[in-house]
Symmetry: C2
Subunit: 221 residues, 2 copies
């Protein structure tokens, strides 16, 4: 059976996307056959210009329109709190929550030995460098929030970064809320809260989530 | 939060595809940020050229590289048997089975009142016209296989087409295998076999599938 080359090409391109198998790729391609050429041109242009219209911020490695990105360039953001995330997309998710006034550091991946991604494949050394920087002998960064995903790989990445940060300098082990003013020159490492997501049902929660939720319990106010 | 325009545009384009929601659209877009520009250019070109590199066959309305398509142009294909399918993709699926030597008719949809698609929105009148054609007073088409999907809409479409074909001329009600040579000038309408798919388990089959499987039972050879 001779499937037209134009169709095969597009099926092939779709198949390369994550989570899209051969059947979905076919379905999407044949769907696009019914779409007006103007729409196809727009779609095609968006793909072509995706990377041309974006740059990696040289400070936090987030994806933005300018370098430094508008978060790093924002005077109002607290540069002493760095939230470490796996992917650029995570920045937008946390920003959407509207609850974070610090800055970010995007790792662009996670330590994942099964897929041969080691610490050097992601932006960890740049994070260590950022934390190390001082101005007038005082550490600029007061808190590093490890906001990698609560998965095997995300936890391993968080552990590795914490270990490296501790090797590189004294780290304050107190919670940021009760920080000792005398320890002003030290940084604190925190891990993003883990527990039951909103709308969840304890009955259906897995053991590890419940374990984390109990560990992470807080005084009820 | 200002998401770069280049990213928003692509997310928007992906969201328009069937079965792709806002979250998947985001994930695909951010995945493409890690892909080399050369790959993006290839993807972009495939979309741009999808419709330019294909034409609708004016005989069977399948999607091909030429008009008439290579199936309609093939001397070896039996032009007296027309297999009626809903979508161009179905032609490739049936061709892959390698079991069909006739020609096709692509409806490009199904009768679906809930989505306001009536008989006139799809290529039914062209099918009726094709079946009506005679050469030297003898009907050219001997069998019309209704291979629309065994869904509510597909069944309704098959019923509608059968009714219209019967209105337009005498239809042979005998099975094509035992066709009376005297009825040479008549056409037979058949429906593609429905029953248990290969690898299925009777225990998990739904009632209607089992019903159809029993109705469609055949002498065991």
């Amino acid at each position: 059976m001779r499937i037209p080359k134009a169709i095969l090409n597009l099926i092939e391109s779709f198949e390369k996307l994550p989570g899209i198998g051969p059947k979905t790729a076919q379905r999407l391609t044949f769907y696009l056959l019914h779409v007006p050429q103007g729409e196809l041109d727009k779609f095609s242009e968006s793909i072509q210009n995706l990377k041309k219209g974006t740059v990696l911020c040289s400070v936090c490695f987030a994806v933005g329109e300018k370098d430094p990105c508008h978060i790093c360039a924002d005077e109002k953001r607290d540069k002493s709190i760095i939230c470490v995330v796996e992917e650029a997309l995570d920045v937008f998710s946390i920003e959407r929550s509207g609850k974070f006034g610090g800055v970010y550091h995007v790792l662009h991946g996670r330590i994942d030995p099964l897929n041969s991604i080691g610490p050097d494949e992601i932006y960890i050394s740049q994070l260590l460098q950022r934390v190390k920087e001082t101005s007038n002998g005082v550490k600029r960064v007061k808190e590093i929030i490890l906001a990698t995903n609560p998965t095997m790989e995300g936890e391993a990445t968080a552990m590795y970064i914490a270990k490296k940060l501790r090797e590189q300098s004294t780290i304050n082990r107190q919670s940021p809320q009760m920080r000792d003013p005398a320890a002003a020159g030290q940084s604190t490492i925190t891990r993003i809260g883990r527990g039951l997501p909103m709308g969840a049902d304890i009955e259906y929660a897995d053991e590890i989530t419940l374990q984390r939720a109990l560990e992470g319990r807080q005084v009820y106010e």
